[in-house]
């Protein structure tokens, strides 16, 4: 069920009515059934995978909880990891793996036949397996008590607002809230949830879907358009994917908030980042912090144990550890997004940016002090934002292109064929203009938001201003919203 479908509106109203009518003790059951119904709307049989992931993690956690010695807990952690990553591998990466092996052997002159699975990717599998695995790691490290109530735990994994596209929640934050579910109908909370949903809808159906028409048109016809078109499309794709995904997150957070559940923030105005490392603190926060805690830091720790000397050749051990951990983490971050080498390249480009940022830090500082320029000056901030934005936009080419060769073809076009061709876009003028105008509005709002959440933007303003803004959003949704059946981009991940 899509958040932007009419079915969801009916579902949302029904669930909220029942939620506030039912006594607190039965609410978890209502939400658990609702979450599975929500998931089964897409493909009923795949609910079994969700159940398999849930029950494996639940049982292994209980088994781990009964063992005091950390080393002995490891085998249960492995079972949990293998089952979840096994599901992910089979449904998401099998074809990539098989094609890559065949490709590798064909380079060596050996021609193999390998099966190709023609199965649909279970929606949200990367999100719920990661959420469940995060819980397993926490229990293994003894930072989280194993949950004994299967219903509560199953709801933690399948909670419908964030089930298919995040935020990837941490057990420490979500599980206690799932266990209590004692929210009363409170004016301020419900209205702030609704405002967030409205903002999310605006981002999705007005900005993302309208920009998507232009971006898809250009990216789907690499031979029809010139370099300038691709440069513009790549910049707009950044905004499209941001509004699509952040729009989903806003609707998810708003929906959960109405029922008294506070989900974690997933985006914090990422296009105002002053560096690539800053970008990753603001973009898909729930995934980047998950990867930092459960992949980057453990990898860095493992590497540090392996390296005995302080220096290897010209490189210090610390540098080797950082380089290896960053490269691996970002290659896997890319792979998490999809079973294509384009995503891996996208991840590696970001890793490269981060490494350059890390190793030039001292030199940049020296350079600024040499010219007597403060790092905090508006000019430097503005240039940093512009530079970071350009780097991130360049990387989006690899994320959006259909294949690695297509991505390089587009890059070469951007740097060599600078012509612009608009006539195939003329019949889409309304959507394109709508998307660009709304993007301007989004930019102004985010500029005012800075680090404040959206729902607090107009908190102390007169009602006339607040309501005018909400009416403007509603009018833009009605006038310019794209109501064709468009899925959220992150569903495919």
């Amino acid at each position: 069920m899509l958040f932007n479908s009419f079915h969801f509106l009916v579902f949302f109203l029904g669930i909220n009515f029942l939620f506030f009518t039912l006594p607190q003790r039965s609410r978890w059951l209502l939400l658990l059934v609702a979450s599975y119904v929500f998931y089964m709307f897409w493909m009923p049989s795949y609910a079994l995978l969700l159940f398999l992931s849930t029950s494996t993690v639940y049982l292994t956690a209980l088994l781990m909880a009964g063992i005091h010695e950390k080393k002995k807990r490891k085998k249960y952690l492995w079972i949990s990891v293998l089952v979840n990553l096994g599901l992910l591998f089979f449904f998401k990466y099998f074809n990539l793996f098989s094609d890559s092996v065949i490709g590798l052997f064909s380079i060596l002159g050996l021609h193999l036949n390998s099966p190709t699975l023609s199965i649909l990717l279970p929606v949200g599998i990367s999100f719920y397996t990661f959420q469940a695995l995060g819980y397993s790691f926490e229990v293994y490290h003894g930072r989280q008590k194993a949950e004994a109530h299967f219903g509560h735990f199953a709801l933690f994994v399948s909670f419908f607002p964030q089930l298919v596209a995040g935020p990837i929640e941490r057990s420490k934050n979500l599980l206690p809230q799932i266990k209590s579910l004692d929210a009363q109908f409170e004016y301020n909370r419900v209205s702030s949830g609704l405002k967030l949903i409205l903002w999310g809808f605006f981002k999705k159906v007005v900005v993302a879907d309208n920009l998507g028409i232009l971006v898809n048109e250009i990216y789907d016809h690499p031979d029809l358009y010139g370099g300038l078109s691709f440069a513009i499309a790549s910049i707009l794709f950044g905004f499209q994917i941001y509004c699509d995904f952040a729009g989903y997150s806003d609707i998810a957070i708003g929906t959960a908030r109405i029922m008294g559940v506070r989900l974690m923030l997933n985006f914090r105005t990422p296009f105002f980042s002053t560096s690539v490392s800053d970008f990753w603190k603001r973009w898909h926060i729930s995934l980047s912090t998950w990867l930092r805690d459960y992949l980057f830091l453990p990898l860095a720790w493992t590497f540090s144990k392996k390296l005995k000397k302080d220096k290897y050749g010209l490189l210090k051990s610390n540098s080797i550890i950082y380089i290896s951990a960053i490269l691996l983490t970002f290659a896997l971050t890319g792979l998490w997004h999809g079973a294509q080498w384009t995503f891996v390249l996208w991840g590696l480009i970001h890793a490269l940016y981060l490494l350059l940022e890390f190793f030039t830090k001292k030199h940049r500082k020296k350079l600024l002090s040499f010219f007597g320029i403060s790092k905090k000056s508006y000019g430097i901030k503005f240039l940093s934002i512009l530079f970071t934005f350009s780097l991130v936009s360049f990387a989006w080419i690899f994320f959006r292109a259909g294949s690695v060769s297509e991505a390089f073809h587009i890059v070469s076009k951007i740097f060599s064929h600078w012509e612009y061709n608009i006539y195939p876009l003329l019949d889409k003028g309304f959507y394109v203009l709508g998307g660009l105008f709304s993007l301007l509005l989004l930019f102004i709002v985010e500029l005012f938001m800075k680090n404040k959440p959206f729902e607090e933007l107009f908190l102390n303003r007169p009602r006339f201003i607040r309501w005018s803004f909400y009416y403007l959003l509603l009018t833009l949704i009605i006038f310019m919203g794209y109501f064709g059946d468009v899925e959220f981009i992150y569903f495919q991940f």
Binding site: N4, S5, F6, H7, F185, Y187, V190, S191, N216, E217, D220, H221, L224, Y423, P424, L426, D427, F430, W467, Y470, Y471, L474, I478, F479, F483, G484, D485
Partner: protein, 335 residues
Amino acid sequence: MKLFFKRILIFFGFIILFYSSLEIWSRKVFLTETDLHLKFSSLEKVKDSIEILAIGNSHLEKGLNPSFFNKKAFNLAYSAQDLYYDNQLYKHYIEEMPQLKYLIIGVDFLSFGYDESKNSMYYVRDYNKELNIRPRNGISYLYLLNHSIFWINRLKFIRYVFNGFPAKNKHSYSDAYLLPDVHRMEPVLMGSGYRATWSFMSESELIKDAMITSARGISLYNSSIENENIRYLSEVIGLAYRRNIRIFLLSAPVSSAYKNSFPEEMQSHFLSLINIIRMHYPEVSYINAMDHFIQRKEVFYNSDHLNEKGAAEFTPFLEELILNNQVISPYNYAD
């Protein structure tokens, strides 16, 4: 909770009032009926005597003029009409057409992957309003919004406001239908269900149009609904076969620029799907007339639709093929 609902009521009250006024105003300025309604009411008058029925999308609607058939015929094809609506229309009318002997179903490269409800065709609502045919994928926001005359005409409305609310002489489709004018640039629906178009394009316009139209069509093609669409088509074939109605799948003439702008794999995939259908239903004939007017741009209204001249030439030719059972090849009648 009381305060919340009170404020919600006031908040939405204003917006409902505002949009209701716009809706009432729009209904005075813009057309409220569609010509799909006219098509159905024209068919009502002649359905008892129809011997040849055509269903499909605009390629057939503009390509087949029933007045050039010697037998009584009706063109029930309509712009962007997909196989679901073809199926539903056939099932709706079959009992009321005792004389029906020939059924022509329009198919093209996009037919098997096309779902009209995903496109923004506002007149989809009329299948439900007029014939009680339920929407293909249930109720959606788009389907609901398509009931609003203001929403459908929102762009025209902005233009209307910017032009200072000029007095509008609201013409109805019925007027246009009664008085077809050969100098008109816009297509006009005739009483036989045929949509007449008189203009044609230059070579360069045709090529541009082919690129835009095919690109849009390809972007809307969804291969995951091919089986569903084949099921709808098969059901029609099965029902028609039981009544001894001869069935013809027809790919109407298109310009070579349009045909060539589809990737070869897509073209051969389409023909393979047609072959699968014909293997299951050998009694079905396939007429591939896509190349019928190759190199003749004056018979095309645009890259993928015939104009009145083209339809006038093509229809008698088609009747000859159908009545004399000359369809001999699954790929092309000319083979």
